[in-house]
Point group: C2
Chain length 201, copies 2
Amino acid sequence: MRRGLGSAATEFQRRVMRLYIGLVHYPVYNKNFQTIASAITTLDVHDIARLARTFDVKLFFVITPLEDQQCLARRIYRHWTVGFGAEYNRHRKEAIELVRVVPSLDKAMLAIGDKEGKAPLVIATAASRQERNRSISCEEARCMIEDDLPVLLIFGTAWGLERALIDTADYVLEPIRGRGSYNHLSVRAAVAIILDRLAGR
Amino acid sequence: MRRGLGSAATEFQRRVMRLYIGLVHYPVYNKNFQTIASAITTLDVHDIARLARTFDVKLFFVITPLEDQQCLARRIYRHWTVGFGAEYNRHRKEAIELVRVVPSLDKAMLAIGDKEGKAPLVIATAASRQERNRSISCEEARCMIEDDLPVLLIFGTAWGLERALIDTADYVLEPIRGRGSYNHLSVRAAVAIILDRLAGR
């Protein structure tokens, strides 16, 4: 029995995923549903990088067109991968090493295309339900990921991904629903729950 | 079919839970496994309160014996429930309203006992596997919660709950495992994943 479980666990770990995630800072909405470029939250980068490492995500794209924000993200990267932080906390290094700073979703897709030899399927996430024909469940998304397709899962900061960007995605993941109608999780919490559902054991 | 699903969803929402969570700032370990009282991270309070509201948690206890830290937590509470924040963002208000600041785990248990008429089962969480006889799976914990028992789920900040505190819990939840051996999630991410597994749909 124990041996059987052990083999199943090993089999699970061996199953190769080609899962990528992107944290989009533009175009996203602000509180008044105006399109903005949001500022990077340092903690988002840390929390999501640690989640990415936990769930065997290949790369974590921090997407922002703002040059000062790109500099900030690269400074975080250097601090934890080659600077003081790399010595101080090697677990953080292992996580932050997955970060790539790019100016746009297109650039993230190109980088994945270069690495994988084909463009990824893009699955957008949203807190509210989108039109039914592109909406997929977590189970469906999990099948795509386990089917050895390169998949890029994108998350919006601030008040969420701009509608026009969602429209360019191949699919939109069903929103996370809790036990009632409250629907206001942080993006960090949403990434945690979605990665556990799509790539957890 | 749709109607059937709708009824199941309604049934799910009606099922009453008596789930409480506690974020412990003392006694926890620092990086060198010395017992400390950690500082409150404002963002933990926000993220975890929003998760608590999402998953229908009854109260979220912020546990710290340090008076200045209790003041900080109460200031956050006031700002978002009766101060400027209450007007600015009512969704945040609905979440932060679940926060209770208490000096110890015992005080949290007493508060639950007063409210529920019986002491809660305490389930500790830990990043590493504990001795087998008190370890329970997420499925087992979910059953206890759905069995109408008051349950207090406790999470450690910093490098995790002190061993002596874990020993006082009734059960210890199995650690979250990702796809490999990396095991260094933020407490915010751990709360997100565990609440989704124990109380999500």
